[in-house]
Protein backbone atom coordinates (compact mmCIF):
# COMPACT_ATOMS: atom_id res chain seq x y z
CA UNK A 1 0.00 0.00 0.00
CA UNK A 2 1.18 3.47 -0.81
CA UNK A 3 1.93 5.69 2.10
CA UNK A 4 -0.12 8.86 1.86
CA UNK A 5 2.01 11.92 2.37
CA UNK A 6 1.29 13.94 5.44
CA UNK A 7 1.06 17.68 4.89
CA UNK A 8 4.41 19.03 5.81
CA UNK A 9 6.90 21.81 5.53
CA UNK A 10 7.38 21.17 1.81
CA UNK A 11 4.60 23.68 1.28
CA UNK A 12 7.23 26.31 1.90
CA UNK A 13 10.20 24.80 0.13
CA UNK A 14 10.13 22.47 -2.87
CA UNK A 15 12.32 19.42 -2.96
CA UNK A 16 15.26 20.73 -4.93
CA UNK A 17 15.91 18.99 -8.19
CA UNK A 18 18.65 20.67 -10.11
CA UNK A 19 17.44 21.97 -13.44
CA UNK A 20 20.66 21.32 -15.32
CA UNK A 21 20.38 17.49 -15.46
CA UNK A 22 16.75 17.80 -16.59
CA UNK A 23 17.72 20.29 -19.30
CA UNK A 24 20.58 18.09 -20.43
CA UNK A 25 18.29 15.07 -20.68
CA UNK A 26 15.69 17.11 -22.54
CA UNK A 27 18.10 18.37 -25.20
CA UNK A 28 17.68 15.44 -27.54
CA UNK A 29 13.90 14.97 -27.41
CA UNK A 30 13.23 18.70 -27.58
CA UNK A 31 15.62 19.10 -30.53
CA UNK A 32 13.72 16.26 -32.19
CA UNK A 33 10.35 17.93 -31.70
CA UNK A 34 11.27 21.40 -32.98
CA UNK A 35 9.28 22.52 -36.04
CA UNK A 36 12.07 21.75 -38.47
CA UNK A 37 10.04 22.32 -41.61
CA UNK A 38 8.76 25.74 -40.58
CA UNK A 39 12.20 26.81 -39.42
CA UNK A 40 13.83 25.52 -42.59
CA UNK A 41 11.23 27.18 -44.81
CA UNK A 42 11.65 30.53 -43.05
CA UNK A 43 15.44 30.27 -43.15
CA UNK A 44 15.68 29.31 -46.81
CA UNK A 45 13.17 31.93 -47.92
CA UNK A 46 15.00 34.54 -45.85
CA UNK A 47 18.37 33.65 -47.37
CA UNK A 48 16.92 33.78 -50.87
CA UNK A 49 15.52 37.23 -50.16
CA UNK A 50 18.82 38.41 -48.73
CA UNK A 51 20.60 37.18 -51.85
CA UNK A 52 18.38 39.11 -54.26
CA UNK A 53 20.65 42.23 -54.34
CA UNK A 54 23.33 40.03 -55.90
CA UNK A 55 21.17 39.91 -59.01
CA UNK A 56 21.53 43.68 -59.42
CA UNK A 57 24.49 45.30 -61.07
CA UNK A 58 24.52 48.26 -58.70
CA UNK A 59 22.44 47.47 -55.68
CA UNK A 60 21.99 50.23 -53.14
CA UNK A 61 21.50 50.25 -49.37
CA UNK A 62 17.74 50.92 -49.65
CA UNK A 63 17.31 47.67 -51.56
CA UNK A 64 19.42 45.91 -48.94
CA UNK A 65 17.32 47.34 -46.09
CA UNK A 66 14.03 46.29 -47.65
CA UNK A 67 15.21 42.78 -48.45
CA UNK A 68 16.89 42.23 -45.09
CA UNK A 69 13.67 43.30 -43.38
CA UNK A 70 11.74 40.85 -45.53
CA UNK A 71 14.31 38.15 -44.75
CA UNK A 72 14.04 38.78 -41.01
CA UNK A 73 10.26 38.59 -41.28
CA UNK A 74 10.47 35.27 -43.15
CA UNK A 75 12.73 33.79 -40.49
CA UNK A 76 10.51 35.09 -37.70
CA UNK A 77 7.43 33.61 -39.37
CA UNK A 78 9.12 30.21 -39.26
CA UNK A 79 10.16 30.78 -35.65
CA UNK A 80 6.55 31.61 -34.71
CA UNK A 81 5.95 27.84 -34.82
CA UNK A 82 8.75 27.19 -32.33
CA UNK A 83 6.40 26.59 -29.40
CA UNK A 84 4.04 24.26 -31.27
CA UNK A 85 3.74 21.21 -29.05
CA UNK A 86 1.01 18.69 -29.81
CA UNK A 87 1.75 17.03 -26.47
CA UNK A 88 1.21 20.21 -24.47
CA UNK A 89 -1.93 18.94 -22.73
CA UNK A 90 -0.45 15.62 -21.66
CA UNK A 91 2.56 17.45 -20.22
CA UNK A 92 0.52 20.22 -18.61
CA UNK A 93 1.04 18.93 -15.08
CA UNK A 94 4.68 17.88 -14.90
CA UNK A 95 7.15 19.36 -12.40
CA UNK A 96 9.44 20.74 -15.11
CA UNK A 97 7.90 24.14 -15.66
CA UNK A 98 6.89 25.90 -18.82
CA UNK A 99 9.72 28.38 -18.49
CA UNK A 100 12.33 25.62 -18.71
CA UNK A 101 10.66 23.96 -21.66
CA UNK A 102 10.04 27.15 -23.61
CA UNK A 103 13.46 28.51 -22.71
CA UNK A 104 15.12 25.33 -23.94
CA UNK A 105 13.40 25.55 -27.30
CA UNK A 106 14.50 29.15 -27.66
CA UNK A 107 18.03 28.33 -26.58
CA UNK A 108 18.26 25.55 -29.14
CA UNK A 109 17.23 27.87 -31.94
CA UNK A 110 19.31 30.86 -30.82
CA UNK A 111 22.63 29.64 -32.34
CA UNK A 112 20.84 28.80 -35.57
CA UNK A 113 19.33 32.29 -35.61
CA UNK A 114 22.74 33.91 -35.10
CA UNK A 115 24.33 31.83 -37.85
CA UNK A 116 21.42 32.42 -40.17
CA UNK A 117 21.48 36.18 -39.65
CA UNK A 118 25.24 36.31 -40.20
CA UNK A 119 24.79 34.42 -43.45
CA UNK A 120 21.94 36.71 -44.50
CA UNK A 121 24.06 39.79 -43.87
CA UNK A 122 26.98 38.33 -45.78
CA UNK A 123 24.77 37.51 -48.73
CA UNK A 124 23.98 41.19 -49.19
CA UNK A 125 26.77 42.78 -51.30
CA UNK A 126 28.85 45.20 -49.30
CA UNK A 127 27.71 48.15 -51.41
CA UNK A 128 24.08 47.40 -50.53
CA UNK A 129 24.63 46.41 -46.91
CA UNK A 130 22.87 48.77 -44.49
CA UNK A 131 24.20 49.48 -40.96
CA UNK A 132 24.61 46.05 -39.44
CA UNK A 133 23.85 47.01 -35.83
CA UNK A 134 20.58 48.72 -36.67
CA UNK A 135 19.43 45.92 -38.94
CA UNK A 136 20.36 43.32 -36.34
CA UNK A 137 18.23 45.22 -33.83
CA UNK A 138 15.29 45.14 -36.25
CA UNK A 139 15.73 41.44 -36.92
CA UNK A 140 15.98 40.65 -33.21
CA UNK A 141 12.84 42.68 -32.47
CA UNK A 142 10.93 40.93 -35.27
CA UNK A 143 11.96 37.52 -33.96
CA UNK A 144 11.11 38.51 -30.39
CA UNK A 145 7.67 39.70 -31.52
CA UNK A 146 6.98 36.31 -33.10
CA UNK A 147 8.04 34.49 -29.94
CA UNK A 148 6.07 36.88 -27.74
CA UNK A 149 2.93 36.21 -29.77
CA UNK A 150 3.46 32.45 -29.44
CA UNK A 151 4.19 32.52 -25.70
CA UNK A 152 1.18 34.77 -25.10
CA UNK A 153 -1.06 32.38 -27.03
CA UNK A 154 0.21 29.47 -24.93
CA UNK A 155 -0.26 31.35 -21.69
CA UNK A 156 -3.67 32.87 -22.30
CA UNK A 157 -5.37 30.34 -24.55
CA UNK A 158 -3.59 27.12 -23.67
CA UNK A 159 -3.25 26.34 -27.37
CA UNK A 160 -0.99 23.41 -28.10
CA UNK A 161 -0.08 24.73 -31.55
CA UNK A 162 -0.07 28.52 -31.47
CA UNK A 163 2.24 28.89 -34.47
CA UNK A 164 -0.33 29.69 -37.13
CA UNK A 165 -1.99 32.36 -35.02
CA UNK A 166 1.34 33.85 -33.98
CA UNK A 167 2.53 33.96 -37.58
CA UNK A 168 -0.72 35.61 -38.62
CA UNK A 169 -0.35 38.15 -35.84
CA UNK A 170 3.20 38.89 -36.89
CA UNK A 171 2.15 39.43 -40.50
CA UNK A 172 -0.61 41.75 -39.34
CA UNK A 173 1.89 43.65 -37.21
CA UNK A 174 4.20 43.95 -40.23
CA UNK A 175 1.39 45.39 -42.33
CA UNK A 176 0.45 47.73 -39.48
CA UNK A 177 4.08 48.90 -39.26
CA UNK A 178 3.94 50.10 -42.86
CA UNK A 179 0.91 52.23 -41.96
CA UNK A 180 2.44 53.97 -38.97
CA UNK A 181 2.63 57.77 -39.25
CA UNK A 182 6.10 59.21 -39.87
CA UNK A 183 6.84 60.34 -36.30
CA UNK A 184 6.18 56.80 -35.08
CA UNK A 185 7.54 54.99 -38.11
CA UNK A 186 9.63 51.85 -37.79
CA UNK A 187 10.31 51.03 -41.41
CA UNK A 188 12.25 54.18 -42.32
CA UNK A 189 14.74 54.39 -45.22
CA UNK A 190 18.40 54.25 -44.32
CA UNK A 191 19.01 57.81 -45.54
CA UNK A 192 16.08 59.18 -43.53
CA UNK A 193 17.02 61.63 -40.75
CA UNK A 194 14.64 59.67 -38.52
CA UNK A 195 16.72 56.48 -38.85
CA UNK A 196 18.23 56.76 -35.36
CA UNK A 197 14.98 57.63 -33.60
CA UNK A 198 13.23 54.80 -35.46
CA UNK A 199 15.79 52.43 -34.02
CA UNK A 200 15.13 53.71 -30.55
CA UNK A 201 11.56 52.61 -31.17
CA UNK A 202 12.83 49.27 -32.47
CA UNK A 203 14.74 48.90 -29.21
CA UNK A 204 11.54 49.60 -27.29
CA UNK A 205 9.71 46.99 -29.37
CA UNK A 206 12.45 44.48 -28.61
CA UNK A 207 12.37 45.23 -24.89
CA UNK A 208 8.58 45.01 -24.80
CA UNK A 209 8.54 41.70 -26.68
CA UNK A 210 11.20 40.24 -24.38
CA UNK A 211 9.18 41.31 -21.33
CA UNK A 212 6.02 39.72 -22.75
CA UNK A 213 7.98 36.52 -23.43
CA UNK A 214 9.40 36.48 -19.92
CA UNK A 215 5.99 37.09 -18.35
CA UNK A 216 4.16 34.53 -20.46
CA UNK A 217 6.77 31.82 -19.93
CA UNK A 218 5.79 31.72 -16.27
CA UNK A 219 2.80 29.68 -15.18
CA UNK A 220 0.05 31.36 -13.22
CA UNK A 221 -0.11 30.45 -9.55
CA UNK A 222 -3.17 31.54 -7.61
CA UNK A 223 -2.68 31.35 -3.86
CA UNK A 224 -5.25 29.44 -1.88
CA UNK A 225 -7.63 32.02 -0.48
CA UNK A 226 -8.15 30.48 2.91
CA UNK A 227 -6.15 27.51 4.00
CA UNK A 228 -8.17 27.29 7.20
CA UNK A 229 -11.07 26.03 5.12
CA UNK A 230 -9.12 22.84 4.48
CA UNK A 231 -9.47 21.73 8.05
CA UNK A 232 -12.04 18.99 8.33
CA UNK A 233 -15.25 19.63 10.27
CA UNK A 234 -14.10 17.29 12.97
CA UNK A 235 -10.68 18.84 13.00
CA UNK A 236 -9.04 15.44 13.26
CA UNK A 237 -8.35 14.21 9.78
CA UNK A 238 -7.70 17.25 7.67
CA UNK A 239 -4.44 18.98 7.01
CA UNK A 240 -3.38 21.26 9.81
CA UNK A 241 -4.08 24.98 9.73
CA UNK A 242 -1.23 26.93 8.24
Amino acid sequence: MRAVAVPGPDLKEPTRVRTYPVVRALLRPVAHMLPHRALAAGSVLGLLLAAVPRLYERPDAELGVGLLRAAALAFALGAAFLLDDPARHITAAVPTGRAVRVGLRMALVAPLAVLWWTAALLLVPEAARPPVGAMTLEAAATLALALAAATAAVRFSGQSEPGLGAAGGLLAAAVAATLLPVPLGLLVPVADPGWDSAHQRWAAVLAGAVLVCAYCMREAVRPNASRAALTSPSGTSGPPRR
Binding site: R2, V4, A5, A92
Partner: protein, 287 residues
Protein backbone atom coordinates in the same frame (compact mmCIF):
# COMPACT_ATOMS: atom_id res chain seq x y z
CA UNK B 1 -5.91 8.58 7.45
CA UNK B 2 -5.27 11.76 5.50
CA UNK B 3 -7.26 12.12 2.31
CA UNK B 4 -5.23 12.23 -0.89
CA UNK B 5 -7.26 15.18 -2.10
CA UNK B 6 -9.03 17.69 0.07
CA UNK B 7 -10.83 20.52 -1.72
CA UNK B 8 -13.16 23.20 -0.46
CA UNK B 9 -15.19 25.80 -2.33
CA UNK B 10 -13.51 25.39 -5.72
CA UNK B 11 -14.99 27.90 -8.14
CA UNK B 12 -13.95 28.69 -11.68
CA UNK B 13 -15.76 30.80 -14.24
CA UNK B 14 -15.19 30.97 -17.97
CA UNK B 15 -16.47 34.41 -18.84
CA UNK B 16 -19.71 34.63 -16.91
CA UNK B 17 -20.37 30.90 -16.95
CA UNK B 18 -19.52 28.96 -13.82
CA UNK B 19 -17.62 25.82 -14.82
CA UNK B 20 -17.10 24.96 -11.15
CA UNK B 21 -19.44 26.32 -8.53
CA UNK B 22 -18.32 25.91 -4.93
CA UNK B 23 -17.13 22.32 -5.25
CA UNK B 24 -15.89 20.56 -2.13
CA UNK B 25 -14.71 16.98 -1.96
CA UNK B 26 -12.30 14.55 -0.39
CA UNK B 27 -10.72 11.64 -2.18
CA UNK B 28 -8.98 8.66 -0.68
CA UNK B 29 -7.28 5.60 -2.07
CA UNK B 30 -9.08 3.66 -4.82
CA UNK B 31 -10.88 4.54 -8.03
CA UNK B 32 -13.49 7.29 -7.86
CA UNK B 33 -15.71 7.82 -10.88
CA UNK B 34 -16.82 11.26 -11.98
CA UNK B 35 -20.04 11.24 -14.00
CA UNK B 36 -21.96 14.07 -15.56
CA UNK B 37 -23.39 15.40 -18.79
CA UNK B 38 -21.36 17.46 -21.25
CA UNK B 39 -20.55 20.83 -19.73
CA UNK B 40 -21.05 19.57 -16.18
CA UNK B 41 -17.58 20.75 -15.14
CA UNK B 42 -15.88 17.36 -14.94
CA UNK B 43 -12.92 18.24 -17.12
CA UNK B 44 -12.55 21.60 -15.40
CA UNK B 45 -12.48 19.94 -11.99
CA UNK B 46 -9.87 17.47 -13.20
CA UNK B 47 -7.77 20.23 -14.73
CA UNK B 48 -7.89 22.23 -11.51
CA UNK B 49 -6.93 19.24 -9.39
CA UNK B 50 -4.14 18.41 -11.85
CA UNK B 51 -2.88 22.02 -11.56
CA UNK B 52 -3.30 22.51 -15.30
CA UNK B 53 -5.47 25.55 -14.55
CA UNK B 54 -5.87 27.51 -11.32
CA UNK B 55 -9.29 27.94 -9.71
CA UNK B 56 -10.71 31.43 -9.23
CA UNK B 57 -11.63 30.67 -5.63
CA UNK B 58 -11.38 27.83 -3.20
CA UNK B 59 -8.62 25.78 -1.67
CA UNK B 60 -7.29 22.29 -2.13
CA UNK B 61 -4.38 20.09 -1.30
CA UNK B 62 -3.20 16.90 -2.97
CA UNK B 63 -1.12 14.49 -0.91
CA UNK B 64 -0.57 17.35 1.48
CA UNK B 65 0.83 19.71 -1.14
CA UNK B 66 -0.66 23.16 -1.58
CA UNK B 67 -0.77 24.19 -5.26
CA UNK B 68 -1.31 27.78 -4.21
CA UNK B 69 2.44 28.23 -4.01
CA UNK B 70 4.97 27.56 -6.75
CA UNK B 71 6.83 25.18 -4.44
CA UNK B 72 3.70 23.29 -3.42
CA UNK B 73 2.53 22.98 -6.99
CA UNK B 74 5.86 21.60 -8.10
CA UNK B 75 5.89 19.05 -5.29
CA UNK B 76 2.30 18.11 -6.09
CA UNK B 77 3.17 17.54 -9.73
CA UNK B 78 5.93 15.19 -8.70
CA UNK B 79 3.24 12.86 -7.34
CA UNK B 80 0.68 13.34 -10.08
CA UNK B 81 -0.22 11.38 -13.20
CA UNK B 82 -2.53 13.17 -15.62
CA UNK B 83 -4.24 11.82 -18.71
CA UNK B 84 -6.16 14.66 -20.37
CA UNK B 85 -9.22 14.25 -22.56
CA UNK B 86 -7.26 14.93 -25.74
CA UNK B 87 -3.72 13.84 -24.91
CA UNK B 88 -1.90 14.79 -28.11
CA UNK B 89 1.44 13.26 -29.06
CA UNK B 90 4.51 13.93 -31.09
CA UNK B 91 3.61 11.54 -33.91
CA UNK B 92 7.19 10.91 -34.99
CA UNK B 93 8.22 9.75 -31.54
CA UNK B 94 8.20 6.08 -30.73
CA UNK B 95 6.06 4.95 -27.81
CA UNK B 96 9.23 4.47 -25.76
CA UNK B 97 10.73 7.83 -26.70
CA UNK B 98 7.53 9.66 -25.88
CA UNK B 99 7.07 8.10 -22.45
CA UNK B 100 10.80 8.65 -21.86
CA UNK B 101 10.30 12.34 -22.69
CA UNK B 102 7.48 12.60 -20.15
CA UNK B 103 9.68 10.79 -17.62
CA UNK B 104 12.40 13.41 -18.10
CA UNK B 105 9.82 16.14 -17.56
CA UNK B 106 9.00 14.31 -14.33
CA UNK B 107 12.61 14.91 -13.36
CA UNK B 108 13.90 11.38 -13.80
CA UNK B 109 17.40 12.26 -14.82
CA UNK B 110 19.20 8.96 -14.23
CA UNK B 111 19.08 7.48 -17.72
CA UNK B 112 19.23 3.78 -16.89
CA UNK B 113 16.75 4.05 -14.00
CA UNK B 114 14.46 6.08 -16.20
CA UNK B 115 14.60 3.58 -19.02
CA UNK B 116 13.78 0.78 -16.60
CA UNK B 117 10.78 2.76 -15.39
CA UNK B 118 9.61 3.49 -18.94
CA UNK B 119 9.93 -0.20 -19.81
CA UNK B 120 7.95 -1.06 -16.68
CA UNK B 121 5.00 1.19 -17.49
CA UNK B 122 4.96 0.18 -21.14
CA UNK B 123 4.83 -3.43 -20.02
CA UNK B 124 2.08 -2.59 -17.54
CA UNK B 125 -0.09 -1.18 -20.32
CA UNK B 126 0.79 -4.04 -22.68
CA UNK B 127 2.84 -2.07 -25.18
CA UNK B 128 6.23 -3.72 -24.79
CA UNK B 129 5.94 -5.27 -28.24
CA UNK B 130 5.37 -1.95 -29.98
CA UNK B 131 7.64 0.23 -27.87
CA UNK B 132 9.84 0.98 -30.89
CA UNK B 133 6.94 1.82 -33.17
CA UNK B 134 6.19 5.43 -34.05
CA UNK B 135 3.06 6.74 -32.42
CA UNK B 136 1.55 7.73 -35.76
CA UNK B 137 1.57 4.03 -36.69
CA UNK B 138 -0.32 2.96 -33.55
CA UNK B 139 -4.09 2.44 -33.28
CA UNK B 140 -6.30 4.76 -31.23
CA UNK B 141 -6.45 2.24 -28.39
CA UNK B 142 -2.69 1.87 -28.35
CA UNK B 143 -2.25 5.64 -28.28
CA UNK B 144 -4.55 5.84 -25.28
CA UNK B 145 -2.37 3.25 -23.59
CA UNK B 146 0.73 5.29 -24.42
CA UNK B 147 -0.99 8.23 -22.72
CA UNK B 148 -1.82 6.06 -19.71
CA UNK B 149 1.78 4.87 -19.58
CA UNK B 150 2.90 8.51 -19.60
CA UNK B 151 0.52 9.21 -16.71
CA UNK B 152 1.76 6.18 -14.78
CA UNK B 153 5.45 6.84 -15.20
CA UNK B 154 7.09 7.69 -11.90
CA UNK B 155 4.49 5.74 -9.91
CA UNK B 156 2.33 8.77 -9.00
CA UNK B 157 0.18 8.71 -5.87
CA UNK B 158 -2.70 10.55 -7.53
CA UNK B 159 -3.88 9.67 -11.00
CA UNK B 160 -6.29 11.91 -12.91
CA UNK B 161 -7.91 10.31 -15.97
CA UNK B 162 -10.21 12.34 -18.18
CA UNK B 163 -12.46 10.13 -20.30
CA UNK B 164 -9.77 7.60 -21.11
CA UNK B 165 -12.13 5.14 -22.79
CA UNK B 166 -13.60 7.49 -25.39
CA UNK B 167 -13.20 6.07 -28.87
CA UNK B 168 -12.14 2.63 -27.71
CA UNK B 169 -13.86 -0.51 -28.95
CA UNK B 170 -15.37 -2.88 -26.35
CA UNK B 171 -12.29 -5.09 -26.21
CA UNK B 172 -9.98 -2.12 -25.77
CA UNK B 173 -12.28 -0.70 -23.10
CA UNK B 174 -12.18 -3.94 -21.20
CA UNK B 175 -8.39 -3.94 -21.36
CA UNK B 176 -8.36 -0.33 -20.22
CA UNK B 177 -10.62 -1.14 -17.29
CA UNK B 178 -8.13 -3.78 -16.20
CA UNK B 179 -5.34 -1.24 -16.34
CA UNK B 180 -7.25 1.40 -14.40
CA UNK B 181 -8.30 -1.15 -11.78
CA UNK B 182 -4.66 -2.17 -11.37
CA UNK B 183 -3.64 1.47 -11.19
CA UNK B 184 -6.19 2.03 -8.43
CA UNK B 185 -4.52 -0.48 -6.15
CA UNK B 186 -2.44 1.52 -3.73
CA UNK B 187 -3.13 4.93 -5.21
CA UNK B 188 -5.96 7.39 -5.69
CA UNK B 189 -7.52 7.51 -9.14
CA UNK B 190 -10.09 10.07 -10.25
CA UNK B 191 -11.75 8.88 -13.44
CA UNK B 192 -14.02 11.12 -15.47
CA UNK B 193 -16.28 9.28 -17.88
CA UNK B 194 -19.58 9.25 -19.72
CA UNK B 195 -19.67 5.48 -19.44
CA UNK B 196 -21.77 4.40 -16.47
CA UNK B 197 -20.62 0.82 -17.04
CA UNK B 198 -17.03 1.90 -16.43
CA UNK B 199 -18.07 3.37 -13.10
CA UNK B 200 -20.19 0.34 -12.15
CA UNK B 201 -17.32 -2.03 -12.88
CA UNK B 202 -14.36 -0.03 -11.61
CA UNK B 203 -15.26 2.45 -8.93
CA UNK B 204 -15.92 2.08 -5.27
CA UNK B 205 -17.17 5.64 -5.17
CA UNK B 206 -18.95 7.85 -7.66
CA UNK B 207 -19.44 11.59 -7.88
CA UNK B 208 -22.10 13.06 -10.17
CA UNK B 209 -21.66 16.61 -11.39
CA UNK B 210 -24.02 18.93 -13.19
CA UNK B 211 -23.77 22.66 -13.94
CA UNK B 212 -20.49 22.88 -12.08
CA UNK B 213 -21.86 21.44 -8.83
CA UNK B 214 -21.70 18.07 -7.17
CA UNK B 215 -25.14 16.44 -7.21
CA UNK B 216 -24.23 13.10 -5.70
CA UNK B 217 -21.31 11.64 -3.83
CA UNK B 218 -21.53 8.04 -2.69
CA UNK B 219 -21.08 4.44 -3.72
CA UNK B 220 -22.28 3.05 -7.05
CA UNK B 221 -24.81 0.94 -5.11
CA UNK B 222 -26.21 4.07 -3.46
CA UNK B 223 -26.51 5.78 -6.82
CA UNK B 224 -28.25 2.75 -8.30
CA UNK B 225 -30.61 2.64 -5.31
CA UNK B 226 -31.92 6.08 -6.23
CA UNK B 227 -33.85 4.42 -9.03
CA UNK B 228 -35.11 1.50 -6.93
CA UNK B 229 -38.81 0.97 -7.54
CA UNK B 230 -38.82 3.44 -10.41
CA UNK B 231 -38.00 1.23 -13.34
CA UNK B 232 -40.65 -1.05 -14.77
CA UNK B 233 -41.55 -3.10 -17.77
CA UNK B 234 -44.67 -2.81 -19.91
CA UNK B 235 -45.95 -3.98 -23.26
CA UNK B 236 -46.32 -0.39 -24.53
CA UNK B 237 -44.46 2.79 -23.69
CA UNK B 238 -45.95 4.19 -20.52
CA UNK B 239 -47.02 7.81 -21.22
CA UNK B 240 -46.34 8.68 -17.58
CA UNK B 241 -42.70 7.60 -17.79
CA UNK B 242 -39.89 10.15 -17.90
CA UNK B 243 -38.12 7.91 -20.38
CA UNK B 244 -39.00 4.65 -22.05
CA UNK B 245 -37.64 2.50 -24.84
CA UNK B 246 -38.31 -0.84 -26.44
CA UNK B 247 -35.77 -3.42 -25.41
CA UNK B 248 -34.42 -6.23 -27.48
CA UNK B 249 -36.96 -8.52 -25.85
CA UNK B 250 -39.82 -6.48 -27.32
CA UNK B 251 -41.15 -5.02 -24.06
CA UNK B 252 -40.72 -1.42 -22.97
CA UNK B 253 -38.38 -0.41 -20.18
CA UNK B 254 -39.83 2.65 -18.45
CA UNK B 255 -38.15 4.97 -16.02
CA UNK B 256 -40.10 7.35 -13.80
CA UNK B 257 -42.91 6.98 -11.31
CA UNK B 258 -44.48 3.59 -12.00
CA UNK B 259 -48.25 3.01 -12.01
CA UNK B 260 -49.69 0.70 -9.40
CA UNK B 261 -49.11 -2.94 -10.07
CA UNK B 262 -46.31 -2.29 -12.56
CA UNK B 263 -43.76 -5.03 -13.13
CA UNK B 264 -40.71 -3.50 -11.47
CA UNK B 265 -37.23 -4.11 -12.84
CA UNK B 266 -33.81 -4.00 -11.23
CA UNK B 267 -32.43 -0.52 -11.73
CA UNK B 268 -28.98 0.08 -13.16
CA UNK B 269 -26.39 2.67 -12.25
CA UNK B 270 -27.46 4.61 -15.32
CA UNK B 271 -31.05 4.76 -14.04
CA UNK B 272 -29.81 6.14 -10.74
CA UNK B 273 -27.63 8.63 -12.56
CA UNK B 274 -30.57 9.86 -14.64
CA UNK B 275 -32.72 10.29 -11.55
CA UNK B 276 -29.95 12.21 -9.85
CA UNK B 277 -29.77 14.67 -12.72
CA UNK B 278 -33.53 14.87 -13.17
CA UNK B 279 -34.78 17.31 -10.56
CA UNK B 280 -33.43 15.59 -7.49
CA UNK B 281 -32.49 17.88 -4.65
CA UNK B 282 -28.83 18.82 -4.61
CA UNK B 283 -26.79 16.93 -2.08
CA UNK B 284 -23.45 18.44 -1.27
CA UNK B 285 -20.34 16.36 -1.38
CA UNK B 286 -19.54 14.40 1.72
CA UNK B 287 -17.34 16.53 3.88
Amino acid sequence: MFPTVSASGLTLRYGGTPALDDVSLRLEEGVTGLLGPNGAGKTTLLRVLATAVPADRGVFTVLGHDPGTAAGRQNLRRELGYLPQTPGFHPDFTAFAFVDYVAILKEMTDRSARHREVSRVLQAVGLSDVRGKRIKRLSGGMRQRVALAAALVGDPGFLVLDEPTVGLDPQQRMRFRELVAEAGEGRTVLLSTHQTEDVAMLCRRVIVMSSGRIRFDGTPAELTARAAGRVWSSAERDPGARAGWRTGLGSFRNVGDPPEGAELLEPTLEDGYLFTLDGEPVREAAA
